[in-house]
């Protein structure tokens, strides 16, 4: 493959038509810029992961319960009375609403349980009593009516009535003299309170030191712009309020804030790390090449390629993942590498024509093989990998085309100047006989073998939580909440879902036996079945009403009333006191939906049931568990039909594992592609393998040494490792080209120039990658070390084993003959 036969004529064509060349370059750039800037960026993690079940998609969707923000107010130093803390919570939420007047980020804040709710709920329950009586309760009812039990209860009632000073107890006993409520309610009320204590209607943690409120954002989970603005407003309001009220501290945490701080951290980390590396790279290049024009010529192809890629993606699909763009930006280091080869070659030869003659083929070959490596990602099911592969491939094509078509016209005929002190030092390093020192070769071979042997030990961490970043403020807020409310247990919400509320309620009902069994095994700790008790499907209500009517036969009614009357008379109580109870037994009951009754206010109802925009009803159950048992419990519960966990990370795990499987396939597809291209290009299986082996060996070395030092692959760094492939194969190709040239012509010039370009490329990439180690975000930091290992492996292989193998092969006459024959053909 001799690409100079294409690019040299293009160069000559434009050389005599400079105006056309400039017009074409500027117009095409403006077109790419115009359309490239129109691209929409997708921050939705769902689209980044392979599509999976409906339930898993729901786990990522906007659900008020999942997306709520926990607000906590507590004493700063001196312990305050709960009433004061409650007052401060009211003031804080009022201030929040005031600040939100124009932005409307807040849908509602559940600050307190309104007394109306309790009264109306009680009314509703009494009006539809049989609907709330589980059929298993009738055994307890029958027991309560036994003469001895009833007598004991009436004695207890008497004591309570005599001591009642407000009338409340009297009313309760009038409705329920046999204490049937114990069988009906159980721990239902505790469940309504979600383990909280109510003080002045406000939610408090059990020790009454922290007031809690639940804020429901008005924006969708995926609206990162609103989430950012809201988080800023919330943080500002918190600070302002704490300054006004130094006696309290305000905490806030929750998914919407977490995602904002995550994104913010990524942005600031990228600014810092990319900033550091750009400054260092510029210092390095200016020091060696002493020309600002050199820097501009180096960067222009990258800018052109980036805009070319963005415009193409805009035309192809209109949008791309922001994360893929971030990852792709690092891959642009490969593009810099090509430009460096071109620029270094020009620096040494001073001729654009010579540049195209010598460099068209290796640069084009490097580009096409790297594009092949990246475009193999298009065969995967993940949009993230698609976007990443597409962006990186197109950016490389764009910048390579610019480098081979436009760039030579900006390179003046100059007198080569490479004898500066700095270049002499580089040459001294490059000319070190790494390939001729047996001890060094043995050492490298050992390193390679150890890497290959240990490569199966590397693990893949599919838990995205480990790539999650939480600010110190969030960690403090979450720790306080867990310490005060969760007894050390992890709380996960599970939801049953259906477009039919009754179906969702029935599915929720079927969760209860599973939860009971998990509780018996000690895997779940005190879950609340309150939702299943309060919200009952129409069918179940009909069954319950039938059971009520079947139980309260006329005979049983009169027996019950007689027992009460007899005991009341003997205690000196007026039997008419219990007329309300008689009324309850005589009522005719119909099923009714508590969800649709309006009795429970929307901001409270959302903790139990939610109906989303697609008319899907979700019925929630809060399940406390030991964090270590999370997977066992979750697997058992989501196996229930129509059930999912409101924990995107759970689904991420399987999706990330799918990406990993995808990725492993992609790696081998790209390896095969690269080998085919190398075969076509070199038309010699040995030479092709010579360029191919360092790439494969470096991939195994990355895995082996990561395994050895206990580093794990994750969603981010495994994607970036395609970059290692790209760079590895490029260095191999350039070294092979240089070695072939030396073997054919006896001149080491091309090899030397390529080595200088590789030297700069490697230094630049090591700088970029090392700078990532300064990142705070675990996802970005994780890229640094794995890529650094990959880079080191690639460079070692290119400078030592590859030349050694080549010269060993040249001792084989048949191979030598095939290499030399190519010279004659060219």
């Amino acid at each position: 493959m001799t690409m100079h036969r294409i690019f040299l004529p293009i160069y000559y064509y434009f050389k005599s038509r400079k105006a056309l060349m400039y017009t074409l370059m500027v117009v095409s750039f403006l077109v790419f810029l115009f359309f490239g800037l129109k691209i929409r960026y997708e921050e939705n993690i769902v689209s980044l992961l392979p599509t999976s079940s409906v339930e898993s998609q729901l786990a990522f969707s906007s659900i008020e319960l999942k997306d709520k923000i926990y607000l906590q107010v507590t004493s700063a130093d001196e312990p305050l009375e709960p009433a004061t803390i409650a007052e401060r919570m009211d003031e804080f939420t009022d201030l929040l609403f005031e600040k939100d007047t124009t932005s409307h980020f807040i849908s509602n804040i559940l600050v307190r349980m309104e007394p109306e709710t309790g009264i109306n709920a009680l009314e509703f329950v009494l009006d539809h009593l049989p609907s709330f009586v589980d059929t298993t309760s009738y055994e307890a009812f029958a027991k309560a009516m036994e003469p001895a039990v009833a007598e004991a209860q009436m004695d207890a009632n008497y004591e309570l009535l005599m001591n009642d000073e407000t009338g409340d107890v009297t009313q309760t006993i009038a409705y329920d003299p046999l204490n049937l409520r114990e069988a009906i309610l159980g721990d239902m009320l505790e469940g309504v309170m979600n383990g909280h204590t109510l003080i002045d209607g406000h939610f408090f943690c059990p020790d009454s030191t922290v007031a809690i409120a639940y804020l429901a954002p008005a924006f969708k989970t995926l609206d990162s712009k609103s989430a950012r603005a809201f988080a800023k407003m919330l943080s500002k309001t918190q600070k302002e309020f704490e300054a006004q009220h130094p006696d309290v501290k305000v905490y806030a945490h929750g998914d919407p804030i977490g995602s904002v701080s995550n994104a913010g951290r990524i942005r600031s980390d990228l600014v810092v790390t990319v900033g550091i590396s750009i400054v260092l790279i510029l210092i390095l290049l200016v020091f060696f090449f002493r020309s600002s024009a050199f820097i501009a010529r180096l960067l222009l192809p990258i800018i052109y390629g980036t805009m070319f890629s963005l415009a193409c993606i805009y035309w192809i699909k209109g949008e791309m993942s922001l994360m893929a763009l971030g990852l792709g930006a690092i891959v642009l280091g490969v593009a810099i590498s090509y430009c460096l080869h071109l620029m270094v070659h020009h620096f040494f030869t001073g001729s654009a024509e010579r540049l195209l003659l010598d460099e068209s083929t290796p640069v084009f070959l490097g580009c096409i093989t790297t594009v092949g490596a990246f475009s193999s990602l298009l065969f995967t099911e993940s949009e993230l990998l698609h976007d990443f592969g597409l962006f990186a491939s197109l950016a490389l094509i764009g910048s390579t085309l610019y480098g081979l078509v436009f760039l030579p016209h900006f390179l003046p005929e100059i007198k080569a100047d490479s004898n500066s002190k700095a270049f002499r030092r580089i040459s001294r390093i490059n000319n070190l006989p790494f390939d001729r020192k047996p001890w060094f070769l043995v050492m490298i071979a050992c390193i390679v073998v150890v890497g290959i042997v240990f490569s199966p030990t590397v693990k893949f961490d599919s838990d995205l939580r480990n790539l999650d970043y939480n600010s110190s403020e969030e960690v403090a807020a979450e720790t306080l909440f867990n310490e005060k409310n969760n007894d050390g247990f992890m709380h996960l919400y599970f939801a049953t879902v259906s477009t039919d509320l009754d179906e969702a309620l029935e599915a929720n009902q079927s969760l209860m036996p599973i939860l009971d069994s998990l509780t018996d095994k000690g895997l779940v700790h005190g879950y609340s079945d309150m939702v299943s008790k309060l919200f009952v499907s129409q069918k179940e209500q009909e069954q319950r009403i039938a059971a009520w009517n079947a139980f309260w036969t006329d005979q049983r009614k009169s027996e019950a009333l007689q027992v009460i009357k007899n005991n009341a008379t003997s205690l000196g109580l007026d039997p008419d006191l219990f007329l309300d109870f008689e009324g309850l037994l005589d009522n005719v009951y119909e099923p009714a939906s508590l969800f649709e009754s309006g009795v429970v206010p929307q901001n409270l109802l959302g903790n139990f049931i939610e109906c989303n925009a697609d008319n899907q009803y979700m019925v929630f159950t809060d399940v406390p568990m030991d964090p270590a048992q999370k997977d066992v419990v979750t697997n058992a519960l989501v196996a229930n039909p129509k059930t999912f966990v409101l924990e995107p990370f759970y689904y991420c795990k399987s999706m990330v594992e799918l990406i990993n499987d995808d990725f492993n396939i992609a790696v081998w597809i790209s390896a095969l592609f690269v080998l085919i291209i190398l075969l076509i290009s070199f038309r010699n299986i040995i030479t092709a393998l010579l360029s191919f082996i360092p790439m494969v060996a470096s991939w195994f070395m990355v895995q082996g040494y990561m395994g050895l030092i206990g580093l794990e692959f994750n969603l981010i760094n495994i994607i970036i490792s395609t970059f290692i492939f790209g760079v590895g194969v490029d260095y191999s190709i350039f070294i092979t080209e240089g070695l072939l040239n030396q073997a054919r012509t006896g001149s080491k010039d091309i090899l030397t120039w390529h080595k200088v370009a590789i030297f700069f490329s490697a230094i630049i990439l090591v700088m970029v990658v090392s700078s990532l180690l300064f990142a705070v975000h675990p996802a970005i930091r994780s890229i640094g070390l794995s890529t650094l290992i990959g880079m080191a492996s690639t460079i070692m292989m290119s400078y030592s084993l590859q030349p050694w193998m080549f010269w060993q092969l040249m001792k084989i006459p048949a191979y030598k003959k095939s290499v030399m024959n190519k010279t004659q053909q060219q």
């Binding site: 109306n120 407000t166 009297t170 002045d200």
Partner: protein, 174 residues
């Protein structure tokens, strides 16, 4: 002479019925538990604007109150503190309305709203209106209300609110 007395009574009743009743007065409250006979005495000051603003601030026990501000009902009684929007709770709506109507002299309206029978008797300068709820008493509602108005000015002087179970509360306005 009889005719003059009758006309005077009718005239006073008319004035009493159509004049606006505003109160700024001390009161006592006696609460008797129907079952145990336990009695609690309370006292305080009542202010009523004749429309929908009523405050009953207790001096004994100090700090307790029952306040109606339009639709809002604020309660701090017997250790229970709450602010309720009357239109959201049927029971509170009925209690609020009954109390305001009774103070304003609109006992007819109170009778209608409570589904109660009304009986009126006269003694000297006082008119006693007894409202007795027909049939089933609404949950937490009053089974009977006895109101004593001063005929000369139509002002309420005594009010007895009897719950179906629980307590009988007697308010004396002095």
């Amino acid at each position: 002479m009889k005719r003059i007395v009758l006309i005077t009574i009718l005239l006073l009743s008319y004035i009493a019925a159509f004049s606006q009743h505003t109160y700024d007065i001390d009161f006592t409250q006696t609460k008797v538990m129907k079952v145990s006979g336990k009695t609690t005495e309370k006292a305080g000051h009542l202010v009523f604007d004749g429309n929908d603003h009523l405050s009953m601030n207790y001096t004994e026990p100090k700090g307790e109150y029952f306040i109606i501000e339009g639709n809002l009902v604020k309660i701090n009684l017997d250790g229970k503190k709450a602010e309720l929007e009357a239109d959201k709770v049927k029971l509170v709506q009925l209690q609020r309305s009954t109390l305001l109507n009774c103070l304003a002299g609109n006992y007819e309206q109170a009778a209608i709203e409570n589904h109660a029978d009304k009986s009126i008797s006269y003694e000297g300068n006082f008119q006693t209106v007894t409202l007795t709820v027909n049939g089933k008493v609404p949950r937490g509602g009053y089974s009977s209300v006895v109101l004593t108005y001063r005929i000369s000015d139509g002002m309420l002087t005594r009010m007895v609110l009897e719950e179906s179970v629980g307590a009988i509360n007697t308010y004396e306005l002095k």
